[in-house]
Subunit: 278 residues, 2 copies
Amino acid sequence: MKKVYTVAEMRKERRKLSDPVGFVPTMGYLHDGHLELVRRARVENKDVVVSIFVNPTQFGPEEDFDAYPRDMERDLFLLKEVKADVVFIPGTEEMYPPLSSTWVEVENVTERLEGAARPGHFRGVATIVAKLFNIVQPARAYFGAKDAQQLVVIKKMVSDLNMDLEIVTVPTVREYDGLALSSRNVYLDLDERESAVVLYKALDMAKKLHEMGERSADVVRRQMTELIQNEPRAIIEYISIADASTLEELENIDRPALASLAVKIGQTRLIDSMPLGT
Amino acid sequence: MKKVYTVAEMRKERRKLSDPVGFVPTMGYLHDGHLELVRRARVENKDVVVSIFVNPTQFGPEEDFDAYPRDMERDLFLLKEVKADVVFIPGTEEMYPPLSSTWVEVENVTERLEGAARPGHFRGVATIVAKLFNIVQPARAYFGAKDAQQLVVIKKMVSDLNMDLEIVTVPTVREYDGLALSSRNVYLDLDERESAVVLYKALDMAKKLHEMGERSADVVRRQMTELIQNEPRAIIEYISIADASTLEELENIDRPALASLAVKIGQTRLIDSMPLGT
């Protein structure tokens, strides 16, 4: 497994790889959700590139950029085990040299949910992902279903800017009790970890209500809200039942939809999502 | 010479081309300045793609999008003569399907000069050029030096977003009297055509003052202003002596600089530019 630290080195390594190349962009502190992306990329492509870069431009000034968990040694060990070919580990200055001033802005789908809660977040995500795609030039890039709005934004960007690659959605990997794997789960203490399962429980209930024929988005949102409010450590940021492609809130669940939510458990903000009817 | 009308066709043709591919994006109504770009691309690459697309998103609501001159038959004849391999002629809906909502924004260098005079112009330029680059995937793209700020913006975008191609600047092609070739010159009547040479005269004077050792940007700007004000059909929009890479206005011309200007001749807005000390 080759480790590269600069854009120039990455381009040089890229020329040696065999097409198609699969790409897994990450912010490191890898868990089995990330590894699942790499495994899938491994099966579907000749060569696999993984990037590890905690992207400062997708964090707000009050957010956890500095505190975001990092463990490079462990990450590299895990990536070797799942047989990544190249790991791209650029520094901040390498990705954002002084005077960088170009941004990729995806309008509309970025205004709601995470975009509303975290202004500028998706501008940072779209920009870094566009940059990484231009550097790695993959045939396919792999993203986890958990960050559902991120996936909608990236697919929109790829389509709108005519980028020549396929975005592959990989189902969310969950703990035994349903909690979605996330690097931020490390912030939870034991009690909070137990409470955190409430996100999954609410989504699972939404799914079951939908399967039983409930089509009123409001009924589903209200039931989810009630369930989470019964968990004293949980504070709801949003609960959404939205059109799966535009992310506009639905009244009637009469098309492919997405249940998603952001909930604070103590100081830790967690998100999760569940497709309804797809 | 192959003509293609859709993104899908263009991708298909692209796969048949030999690398390196040279690319000349145009808005059609070709003149010898465009053809010079194609000739240069022809020499430096195995295959050459030219696009013809009058890009609506770079025109303001009060600007000349509808009136912009078009002559496809003549354009295709000329491109055949200079041996383009593929001409990409997408329709507006092909490049901007309904609900497209992704933009490439280059900050700072877009705020001045043309960017200030034409709000949104460079957002439209950067976005369409990014899209075309993603579709055509050239090793080199060719632009005329006349639209100097456009070149600065595109080079900045390519560098900031790590696009994997080279931007080649081709010197401005001028008429016998110095007027820069432009598709918009067709708007000029005979008297205006004669007056229009004043843009070149002012730039040529700036160049000569600089060559003679004048280093005060203000002196140069004032002399240019005076010269143009003596032409009754000319109305100055801006006259700039700026840093060649940041486009910040200079006090002292102590580094590579760019003289540029926008002048209305009757109803026709013309721009031109001249490097100083490069």
